[in-house]
Symmetry: C2
Subunit: 480 residues, 2 copies
């Protein structure tokens, strides 16, 4: 079942109006990580709630309680739950998005005012904070709803909505809300959901649409080596005592090799070798070594082989050393022996790895390596936070629907990608609801989601709105 | 020739007056490292110049030009050169000290106002910034001069003075001044100097006086590994690219072992093994493993053998890893791949090591180790600053005079020490003048020179003044 041509026409005809609405959304600086902007996050929730209601969606603002930020207690922005359609003959699609944004100041290096949507007619870019992350995609759904309402069309599926206002700041309270709604069964907002669609990631490049079926998990470690009671002068105590930095650097050097190999025994081994079918997915991706070099700004890929490089992000664990707390970090030359230093590193993990499997391997190995140093300093190992990886069945009808919709709108097969980062709510939906979750991005890889001059291409907003609408029709049509 | 008993009596009788003068000096917050205090440094130079003049010393304030600090151009505090006595039959002793001090605020953790000398009657401590570093020792010389003037005694030697006001901030301009004065020959202030005495270090402990004949030098390195054009997200790029932190940590781990061994080939090897005579010096020192443990606040010495531990500071090179610039250093968990990171480390060097011999060994080794990593990142090695080690002939009559003076005043033989840090002016005097330089400390190892609650024990100030005076008589008496 193709989407009705009126739908696509309507979106085209109302493009300017839709962009105007995106401008309204961008104009509300709903920065969840800035305590002084908390009222704007609430303002944004009210604006979005109003839009949904006006388009026929039944909503409820869910109070998530309070939290402490920058030393003050603040109310958490509400999660907006919504529902439209209750036809038992139709499938039910749950849509997630977030209405909060990253901080932005013109002085950070923006070329334009970040909270004023600027339409660059030459490039077709819609520039403004939140344009692509994640107000554009949310408004894509609104555009679909508006088209149906205006055209008097019935939606092909029942829809459920879950929009939050704390995604850029840890999604506080959301996991508990989702779990408690699921626990309510028939009385919960998510009863009867057949699949989930999240539009909060990006194409691999700026050319080819993609659908995403995997995310890496994470285990973040802090290794603290402590010795003297206070910082020492290297002139006075150098070569008299065990120096914590010396021990910590030895330990950190045992974690990962320059070629990316994780040296903690058992971690890399836990991951299966990619088979031919899987490798073919990577081979087919519209993504080259040159794309990576362009993205990072230097020719520093670990391999010159495209598939190897792609597999490094998409299906291999990675270990990154982030820095050291407690050591000298300023400019210039200070001759300090720091008393206590904490090395920070994290391991991005992939199935079948879980934090529960990885943590003991790391702890045991680091302790063994520390014992070898025969140091009189003390070692402490902490897990600062973690999250499991997520991998969906990309042969599921939910993905098939997205693939067909992409082909219908973009006239080409989407790239099938896994991402190297994490979107924790994905896993929460997958595990709590027990249904297939799909990541269906609207924006491009160069949108600069958390950066200056964040943008969403006009064509991605408009074609992306058509894609979301068409996806609903494909879900409805498919033989599940 | 013992010092006249009137001298010692006079110092005892005038102790309170001398402590009062120390209070005047401490009350001037002559912090050379704080631009807003520069007028106080000048005030201190005028105060000291006035004292010297009133005691019969011919002085000249030497303009050292200007420098830039905290973004503003400031006049450098003058060096005060002085002379008293021109008897060709007497030896000529050059005395160095500095009248500037480290920063201090009560809020740093001082129990009393740092710029108000507090006399703790119970402990006998004179507490205040500069009390021991280095106003106390300078005032020790003034006490000796005053005693001679009041008693109508002739000084046993000709004296020359060099007091600076920038020691705590790099001694800017002083080296050039010393060299240019030496170059003037007969017309210079240092003509005819037979030996130098510097009182700007400390006893090894709080019990036993010492004289010091060696200082380590230093070479401070910065290793910068750069890769991507900007910081990257470890989720997106982890295991796709060569990470600068991974490479830097590998390099830093190749520099020094946990037991203090320097891993740069040729560095440790350059230093001879201590012979029996030298080991006996360390054996005899009133300094134990327990003293080191107390000083650092933890049982972390590299060895349980006293001589081994002492040799680590006094006659071995040491390599300390100070920290990393450019990496994540804050609290919490940030998943950044830093784009460019600079590891800071320094090597404390001992004779026959020089920066000129050490730097190429380090550069070559680090480059070799970097090549082994086969990384596409780039490496830059910088020498941020360096200084040569200094070692004096402790059998010289200058040291013999100090030894005899110590025995006369403290009724015990001084410890014969080498220090692990640097006092660059020592080497400048030794090399420019070509005479023996002696470090004859007044204060104790626990004075807290650069710390909070800096103090000088009353007995060290008074007996120390006697020591300096007696030293002059022993210099005069000795058969050079």
């Amino acid at each position: 079942m193709a989407s009705p041509s009126q739908l696509l026409q309507f979106i085209d005809q109302n493009a300017d109006k839709f962009i105007g609405r995106l401008g309204e959304a961008v104009a509300i600086p709903s920065i969840s990580g800035d305590a002084t902007r908390r009222p704007d996050v609430f303002k944004m929730s009210a604006w979005l709630d109003g839009q949904l209601k006006s388009l026929g969606v039944t909503t409820k603002l869910m109070d998530l309680g309070k939290h402490v930020m920058d030393g003050q207690e603040l109310p958490l922005p509400p999660a907006i739950l919504g529902r439209i359609g209750d036809d038992p003959k139709k499938k039910t699609v749950l849509v997630y998005g977030h209405y909060d944004v990253q901080p932005a100041n013109k002085s950070d290096g923006w070329d334009t005012e970040p909270f004023q949507l600027v339409i660059d007619e030459k490039t077709g870019r819609l520039i403004g904070r939140g344009s692509t992350d994640d107000k554009g995609p949310i408004l894509g759904w609104l555009n679909v709803l508006e088209a149906h309402k205006a055209l008097g069309l019935e939606l092909p599926v029942n829809m459920r909505f879950c929009f939050e206002g704390m995604e850029e700041n840890g999604s506080e309270g959301l996991d508990d809300l989702i779990k408690s709604e699921v626990a309510k069964g028939k009385d919960g907002w998510f009863d009867g959901v057949d699949c989930v669609c999240i539009s909060d990631n990006y194409w691999l490049n700026s050319r080819t649409p993609c659908i995403t079926y995997g995310l890496r998990g994470l285990v973040y470690f802090k290794l603290t080596v402590s010795g003297p009671a206070r910082d020492l002068h290297s002139g006075v105590f150098g070569r008299m005592v065990h120096e914590p930095m010396t021990d910590l650097i030895q330990l950190m050097s045992k974690l990962v090799a320059s070629d990316g190999t994780i040296l903690v025994p058992g971690v890399d081994d836990m991951v299966s070798i990619a088979d031919a079918e899987e490798k073919q997915i990577y081979e087919k991706l519209d993504y080259s070594v040159k794309d990576v070099e362009d993205a990072v700004g230097a020719p520093i890929t670990l391999s010159d082989d495209k598939v190897e490089v792609i597999m490094g992000r998409m299906r291999m664990p990675s270990l990154s050393l982030h820095g050291i707390e407690g050591a000298f970090y300023g400019a210039g030359a200070k001759t300090v022996i720091p008393a206590s230093v904490s090395g920070k590193f994290s391991i991005r993990i992939v199935p079948p790895q879980t934090p529960e499997k990885i943590e003991p391997l790391v702890v045991q190995y680091v302790q063994q390596e520390f014992a070898k140093l025969k140091s009189k300093n003390t070692l402490k190992i902490e897990n600062l936070h973690d999250g499991r990886p997520w991998l969906a069945d990309y042969k599921h009808w939910n993905y098939e629907a997205a693939r067909r919709a992409t082909e219908a709108i973009y006239k080409r097969a989407p790239d099938l990608t896994r991402e190297g980062g994490s979107i924790p709510v994905t896993l929460t939906f997958a595990e709590s609801l027990g249904v297939n979750v799909l990541l269906l991005p609207m924006g491009r890889g160069d949108d600069g989601a958390h950066s200056t001059n964040e943008k969403l291409d006009r064509s991605n907003f408009i074609e992306g709105s058509k894609l979301l609408g068409t996806y609903l029709y494909e879900v409805a049509a498919i033989n599940a």
